[in-house]
Structures are given as structure tokens and as C-alpha cells.
């Protein structure tokens, strides 16, 4: 058991203001706080890192959960869950949000994992920075209750920021936490949180955007859906999710998809993936690297060459020479650049 005699709480820490405040409210009561942060493979920051764009300021790509842990003086453990997590992205029990975001299942998933960790660490209860009514899909009262129940945490999940709007939890009933010192924040306005941040002199936190998860992004979700619909090999926790963020994507047949780099950084990223794949470029011109997924026949190779020509600096010429290579196989294809009307039809 917990030998220090102190009450220990385990919390989901994103590094955003809400989870930081929730941790801080508990720390003010003398509770020992330990943080967990799950690496799902869909964090936009992680993907930007993997793209490795030159000149990106490391500070802007830092892990916010670690930064919050440092500021709070608590340990934040990053837990890799990419493969397991992908299961709920593909097939969420409670459905997707507006895009591929399985928000309710995501919370349940993380809390179930945390419950197991809570037992290992000998922590007394779990907490989150959830605020009643802040997010339409996952933070209304019924959703909060569903999440708690499905995670097997009834009574053991404290939301310190909205506690006064929610039924009393076991930590409050047992006196591990003083309910009177918890809060009654609710709704989408962040006024309460900002005032509290000032009280605690928390100066540094990322702006709330909801934009830190690629699964809430329209284009990313459309491309992920395409991957699933066409059974493209996709390995979470590798470069595969990053590839969905990179370049222009075109599906040219059921089996074949192409990715066109938009700038030097994207071309370099695609370059790293070219082994065993067809790549198209326009020699002696400003040219994107066009990476092919799947096995294109001769007709499709002509079509892909036309796409490469369209995005090269020779796009206005009537006939362009394109180099197609796969490992040590190479061929030259002369084509007219693809028409934009065609491209729009196959753009993903």
C-alpha cells in the first residue's frame, strides 16, 4: 500500500489549462499527484516533429504534458498506446464525432488504462480536468457518467473543476478530498479557469484549440477513412499516420494512391519512404517527389507521371518528360500535365 500515508491521485495530464488546474487544486489540499499522458500517434505536435521541417523552433513542438509536469513539479508518465488505441479509432462503441474523433471511447480507453496504473501505483483515485458542458460530445453530464461507468471507475473519478455540479465521489465521501475546496466551473466560457490560473500564477499553457488531435481534422480524417476503405497497410506508431499529414493525396485506382510533396521538407519526408515504392519526378525542373502506394500498371504510371508534371515547374508545357523509378528500375514517360478537373475528382 501507499507507504507515505499521503493521499495519492493519478490524473490525465494533457498540459492544457484544465488538467493543469485540476492537478493544482488537488495539490493545494496536500494530495500527492502523479500524471499520465497517452501517446496515441494522432497528436499533431508529434506528427510535426516527425516531419522534421527545417527551422521549426523546438519550443513550439515541445510536449506540453511534460512542460506542465515540470511547472507543477509532478511526474508525468508518457504511455505509448498507439496500437491499442487504433482499435477504438476504427471501431468506436460510441461512434465518431464530426470527423474520425472517437471522443467518448477515447476517454474511456484512457481511463481504463489509468485504472490499471492506479492499482499498480497504489493511488487512491483518478482525476481529470474535464469541465461539465465544455465540449458538446464528451463533456455533457450523461457522457461524463457513461465514461465513468464504462471505465469501471464509478465513484473513483474526480473532476475537481466541475465537482460541485456532479455527484459526490468516494474521495470526497471518505474525506480524502475536501469537497468544499473543489470547484463549480461549467460551460464553454473559460473565464473561471483563467481567473483560477491567475490565482495560482500559472502563466504558461497552450491556448485551447481542440486542434491538437489529428482525428478532429477534416482532411486527415478523410485520408484515414480512405486508408481504411481501401485496406492500405497502416501501422499506428510508425510514419504511416504522419504520411496522412504530408502532401497532396490522390486516389488513382482502388489499389493505388499517390502522395505529392508540396515543399522541400515534404519531399525529404517522402524520400525516406521511397524504398520498394514507385517514385515520380520531373528531372531538371522544380519538381515534387511523387510517392506511390500500391502497384501501378503501365496506364496508371502514365497517369501518375501526368500528376507529377502538373505540380512541376513545367506545368504549362504541352509535353513533359517524367522519371519513374522503383529501387533500381527506372523508366522515362512523356506526358501532358494532368488537368485540374481530373485532379479534383481523385483528390483525397
Amino acid at each position: 500500500m501507499n507507504t507515505s500515508g499521503r493521499i495519492k491521485a493519478l490524473g490525465l495530464i494533457s498540459g492544457g489549462l484544465d488538467s493543469t488546474l485540476a492537478a493544482r487544486v488537488l495539490m493545494e489540499q496536500g494530495i500527492e499527484v502523479h500524471g499520465l499522458n497517452y501517446s496515441t500517434g494522432f497528436c499533431t505536435n508529434d506528427q510535426r516533429r516527425a516531419l522534421g521541417r527545417a527551422g521549426e523552433e523546438p519550443h513550439r513542438l515541445r510536449n506540453e504534458a511534460l512542460r506542465a509536469g515540470a511547472d507543477l513539479g509532478i511526474e508525468v508518465e508518457i504511455v505509448p498506446v498507439e496500437k491499442d488505441y487504433f482499435g477504438i479509432v476504427v471501431n468506436p462503441k460510441f461512434g465518431h464525432g464530426a470527423h474520425m474523433n472517437p471522443c467518448i471511447d477515447c476517454r474511456i480507453f484512457m481511463l481504463q488504462k489509468s485504472k490499471a496504473r492506479m492499482d499498480e501505483l497504489g493511488a487512491h483515485f483518478l482525476f481529470t480536468g474535464e469541465v461539465l458542458g465544455q465540449r458538446p460530445m464528451s463533456q455533457h453530464l450523461a457522457a461524463l457518467q457513461t465514461i465513468e461507468k464504462e471505465a469501471g471507475l464509478e465513484g473513483l473519478l474526480l473532476r475537481p473543476l466541475s465537482a460541485h455540479h456532479l455527484p459526490e465521489t468516494l474521495p470526497e465521501k471518505r474525506g480524502w478530498v475536501d469537497r468544499a475546496r473543489l470547484l463549480a466551473i461549467a460551460g464553454r466560457s473559460r473565464r473561471g479557469q483563467l481567473a483560477l490560473a491567475q490565482t495560482f500564477q500559472i502563466g504558461e499553457f497552450p491556448q485551447p484549440s481542440g486542434g491538437c488531435c489529428s482525428l478532429t481534422d477534416d482532411t486527415f480524417s478523410r485520408r484515414l477513412r480512405d486508408v481504411l476503405d481501401h485496406q492500405v497497410p497502416f501501422e499506428p506508431g510508425t510514419q504511416d499516420p504522419v504520411l496522412l499529414k504530408v502532401g497532396r493525396h490522390f486516389r488513382v485506382s482502388h489499389e493505388v494512391k499517390v502522395v505529392v510533396g508540396r515543399d522541400e521538407a515534404e519531399n525529404q519526408f517522402l524520400e525516406r519512404l521511397r524504398r520498394g515504392r514507385w517514385c515520380f519526378e520531373v528531372p531538371d525542373a522544380g519538381s515534387p517527389l511523387v510517392l506511390v502506394q500500391g502497384e501501378p500498371d503501365e496506364d496508371l504510371r502514365k497517369l501518375i507521371a501526368a500528376i507529377a508534371a502538373r505540380y512541376s515547374s513545367r506545368r504549362s508545357e504541352s509535353s513533359v518528360e517524367v522519371q519513374a523509378t522503383r529501387d533500381d528500375r527506372a523508366e522515362t514517360i512523356r506526358v501532358a500535365p494532368a488537368a485540374d478537373t481530373f485532379l479534383e475528382q481523385c483528390r483525397i
Binding site: 500500500m1 516527425a50 523546438p58 515541445r62 511534460l66 505509448p80 497504489g122
Partner: protein
């Protein structure tokens, strides 16, 4: 810390470059080249769990974000970030393991519930 000099403050963390004449002798070395954060941090945490308090781990990485993430991870986890040196694209970072904040698998708290 002998052999170290402090670099300038860069935002919320202090980036320390290792001095030229104070080589640290790491007890263990972890190569994370080719991996992007948070993977090097996850690997660091896993490796440090098997080390003793006071021992030094050298982490090698080519992801520059680790210069921000590793000092932050140390500050939160109670470890001492000793600094870094660079060799081409490789960054060598040194961490001294601190007193254990959380005992993994330290028993159950069920009797309290």
C-alpha cells in the same frame, strides 16, 4: 557541477551545454537516434526505472525537441538534468537519476477504498 557550464535561459527551461574538459562517465547509455519525441522520453523513463538513484544515463538523440522535453521531464520527475553536448546531428544528453517519487507497483491501495 564540475565540468559543466550553464547556458542561457531559453524560455522556461535551462539548456546546459557540457564543458569541454569535464567528461561525464555515464553508467548507462541509451541510443534513440531515428526516433522522435515522445519516444526517446518513453525509452528514457523505461531505462531509468532499472537504474539506481545517483546513476547517470546518457541519452543520444537526433530530435532537437528533446532539448526541451528531457529537461522538463527531469524537472517533473525529480531527476537532475546535467546538460548536453552535440556531435554533428547527434545530441548527447545526461541525466542523473533522482530519488524515486513514485514506487512502481508499490502495492495496492484497495484497503483504503
Amino acid at each position: 557541477m564540475s565540468g559543466l557550464r550553464s547556458g542561457g535561459q531559453a524560455g522556461a527551461f535551462e539548456l546546459r551545454e557540457l564543458g569541454e574538459n569535464g567528461p561525464l562517465r555515464p553508467d548507462e547509455r541509451l541510443d534513440t537516434v531515428g526516433f522522435f519525441c515522445p519516444i526517446p522520453i518513453i525509452k528514457t523513463g523505461a531505462r531509468m526505472r532499472g537504474m539506481e538513484e545517483g546513476e547517470i544515463l546518457e541519452v543520444i538523440s537526433d530530435d532537437r525537441v528533446i532539448l526541451v522535453d528531457l529537461p522538463n521531464w527531469c524537472r517533473g520527475g525529480g531527476h537532475e538534468y546535467l546538460g548536453h553536448s552535440e556531435a554533428g546531428r547527434e545530441i548527447h544528453l545526461f541525466v542523473r537519476k533522482g530519488a524515486r517519487k513514485t514506487a512502481p507497483g508499490a502495492g495496492k491501495a484497495r484497503d483504503l477504498r
